[in-house]
């Protein structure tokens, strides 16, 4: 039992403890410092943990030395370790960015509260990812929901309140369904630990086919609501567009991903391939994912507010992940997880840059953001790189996900899906290109704009530059990453 094995627990504890220290301190500078330091240290811990798991293989960690199934257990495999690193890295970049911009969006007195909520949120998301016990996951889900609602409402505008309420109600709906699903599973198997449930379920699913089917559907719908599966995504555009930019970034890139990762763990860890194929429920996920891919982009085309465009784009991208899950093959799931990684870094960069543009110009609508390329060239340039990844230019992670998803569709026998995937990426081009083109080109757009007049200083854009560089790195190192994921799925 090396000390490194307890790092995941340490990470969550550090985040929660530092979170509760924050309301006690009045000086905002110190609060920001603590937040940065805590996130950096947990990122380093996650990195060491990933390295350890890579060398030594996955392990189970008992909390409090109570053995499963009576005690709670963390299962740290390669995928969980990678997700830990991803979440802490992206969160670190977002917090770094927010240090400069948060004053402009929320009141001074609420800043301590904000960083508390962010730490709790990241801690709970990591808990969802690491935990091997279903009820423990449920508790972390609830904590995460409340914390994420908090990060939206901390900005005190009317639209925020409405958006938060919608989000809260839909989330509680989802949680209720998930809890019911857990109840069904407990009543059938008497366990709450994922490995034990799987062992029991394999023996008895033929005896209670209806109950197993109902519990699968409950989990899919419950977690689908929380991770914006079409058509349960209604809460997302309001919530992500009205929140402060760093909250939108965290919500879009991390929160949705933790829940969809839990869905993957439940579908493939608790139920397993045999049961899923017996009931053919994955087809629902497949169809809803394809619909989400197309409809998300179609809705995005009609939006006038830049943050809403990016929010609907998130709905479309989550559709890709559901498509990967719904294919029902190892390759499909690997690509879904790869897309989680790629999308997390890309979307956070896009939201932060959109936030910078809104903050400097005071305008939210696309019509008023024309010509911004001359005023903020670096910002829009980075945005274009992110947009190119969404459109699917080779070398960037968006293209790699699309290509592999198409190959996985052919391998699974659903060749028609290639058309859906390619159509969706074409639609992406339709709404991202005008933002970039109207920003950089067009005489009437550029009239009266002074070069670099509204640019943010370089040090404030550094976190976004890091995110973009890591996005390009994910694209280039894709083969290694996908191999690692496949290894973890064995």
């Amino acid at each position: 039992m090396s000390i490194i094995q307890s790092f995941p627990l340490v990470i969550i504890l550090v985040l929660l403890i530092t979170a509760f220290m924050m309301p006690l301190i009045k000086n905002t500078k110190i609060i920001k410092g603590i937040s940065l330091v805590s996130m950096t240290s947990v990122m380093i811990l996650a990195l060491i943990n990933l390295d350890f798991v890579h060398k030594n293989g996955e392990y189970l960690y008992r909390i409090g030395h109570f053995n499963a199934p009576y005690g709670i257990e963390f299962r740290i495999g390669i995928i969980e370790a990678m997700m830990g690193l991803l979440f802490t890295f992206v969160a670190l970049m977002i917090i770094w960015y927010s240090i400069y911009s948060i004053e402009k969006e929320i009141k001074q007195s609420k800043i301590g509260l904000y960083y508390l909520l962010v730490n709790i949120l990241i801690g709970s998301l990591l808990g969802v990812v690491y935990s091997n016990d279903l009820f423990n996951c449920f508790v972390f889900i609830e904590v995460g929901t409340l914390a994420s609602c908090g990060t939206i409402i901390v900005k005190d505008k009317k639209e925020n309140i409405k958006a938060t309420l919608k989000y809260l109600i839909m989330s509680c709906l989802g949680s209720g369904l998930v809890l019911m699903g857990i109840a069904y599973l407990y009543s059938m198997t008497g366990h709450l630990n994922i490995n034990y449930i799987h062992a029991e379920l394999v023996k008895c699913y033929l005896i209670y086919p209806n109950a197993v089917l109902i519990s699968i559907v409950l989990f899919i719908i419950g977690l689908g609501v929380k991770s914006a599966m079409f058509p349960l995504h209604n809460w997302l555009p309001d919530a992500h567009s009205s929140a402060p930019s760093s909250s939108s970034a965290i919500l879009s890139s991390l929160v949705l991903k933790a829940f969809v990762l839990l869905l993957i763990k439940i579908l493939y860890g608790v139920f397993g391939m045999d049961i899923l194929n017996h009931f053919s429920v994955l087809n629902i996920v497949l169809i809803l994912g394809s619909l989400g891919m197309i409809m998300g982009s179609v809705f995005a085309i009609f939006q006038k507010n830049i943050k809403r465009v990016i929010a609907y784009s998130t709905v479309a991208q989550m559709g890709y992940i559901f498509l990967g899950i719904g294919l029902g093959t190892n390759l499909g799931v690997s690509i879904a997880i790869f897309h989680i990684i790629g999308h997390a870094v890309t979307k956070s960069a896009l939201f932060l840059l959109a936030g910078a543009m809104i903050e400097q110009t005071g305008h939210k609508s696309l019509a008023q953001l024309k010509g911004i390329g001359r005023e903020m060239p670096l910002t829009l340039g980075l945005f274009s790189i992110g947009a190119l990844s969404m459109i699917g230019i080779p070398v960037l992670p968006g293209f790699i996900s699309k290509w592999h998803l198409s190959l996985a569709s052919i391998a699974a026998g659903d060749t028609i899906l290639i058309v859906v995937i390619l159509l969706s990426s074409l639609l992406n081009a339709v709404y991202y290109s005008p933002i970039v083109i109207n920003g950089f080109f067009g005489e009437e757009n550029l009239q009266g704009k002074v070069y670099k007049s509204k640019s943010k200083p370089l040090k404030e854009l550094m976190p976004v530059i890091f995110l973009v560089i890591s996005m390009i790195y994910v694209g280039i190192a894709s083969r290694g990453i996908i191999n690692l994921i496949s290894l973890g799925l064995m």
Partner: protein, 481 residues
Amino acid sequence: MDNIIIILPIIFPFILAILMATIKFNEVKRNIFVSIGVILNLIFLITIFYMFGEISIHLIKLNEFLDIYLKIDKLSIMFSLLVAILWIFTTFYAMEYMKHEGKEKRFFTFFLATLGVTIGIAFAGNLITLYAFYEFLTLTTFPLVIHTDSKEALKSGKKYLIYSFIGATFVLLGMILLFSITKDITFNAHGILPALTKENRSLYLLSYVSMFLGFGVKAAIVPFHSWLPAAMVAPTPVSALLHAVAVVKSGIFAIIRMSYFIFGAKIIKELHVNIFLSILIVISILLGSFLALHQENLKKRLAYSTISQLGYVLLGVVLLNEDAFVGSLLHLINHALIKIVLFFCVGAIMYTTGKTDISQIRGIGKQMPITMGCFGIAAISLIGIPPTNGFVSKWYLAQGGLTSGEMIFPAILLFSALLTALYLLPVITEAFFKKGEHTIVKEAPMKMLIPIVMITIIVVLLGLFPNILITFIQQIASEVI
């Protein structure tokens, strides 16, 4: 890693483009910088060809498919030399022309970048590299198309982007289907695919048609041609570049690579798809010429003429015999030269007089004799009258049509030649044989005139002494068919 030298002609223009964008140049320094740059690039190309011959290099292997592979073979040599030489002429022409258009810095930045991308397309050794550089080509030529930044330019630019991305999506569809059959998409002279069987027939068919149409968007096949006349809103050096060298010929180059070096002539014959595609191409040839007759604007007339002429080249590709292939490659080169001359002349008229329509150029032949004279020679070449190079390529194409057994193809070639005469000769008659206004117009400036004259001389020379070129192309053809 010795073969790393192969990336030099691709990277060097990119470095120049970056320098162009970041360093402040005054006009003289900029002109010297760009001209030395493109000339050096040509020298690099020739040196590599002489010293190293046909080398290749796996640049980056990211994945089993994402493998950037550069390879020089005879076809690449032909295309890249054509590109590099014509780029030099265009540079000198543009140095003068862009004085009237402004924003030279942006223009030359993307001008240089496009050169790098086009040579990348020439050197692509497998389908994924070709696709990657193809997408980059759209991105680097877009700012050139919307150079004037007017509302109309933005609209045409949007159309260009939409068509290009839809084409790229079709190509991607074909590539993915292909990849599911064979993991290796490197170009090889006789095609790399396993033999045609009943099971994979529909897959091959779908993949081929999809990629043909996808690349065909850039090669302006009907019905994907309308971006080309719309793109005439760009300044003339851009139109000359797009229509003679970079974009449309890249599309055709990609189709040739895809047809002969991935599928192979044998499989295409067995698929019988060339019959259907040839119908589409014949429509392009005829429709292009018909629509050209109705255009008042000189540049639009030349644009529709291009659509028609590209049909000739593609016809030679799908006829699948050696004569036709030789004719097609010859016409690729010849049309590039001819069309550049025609566009440069029209641009010279626009530069000196500001006139754009055929009705406005009465009597201009008397005042700009050299310009219009070169236009005349190029027009004669396009119609296909000896002793110009257009005649040689049309001859081979007609031979190829005869060999294929269908009499209809040479007949169409003849009919289209008639139409070509019908839409080009009026320009010459208006210029030379009508009385014009008496305002004094000067001949075009030297920097514009010299490239026009030099290329016209090449046009005539290639008509009189075509053998060097023909022998080289016949070597390529024999490897392939």
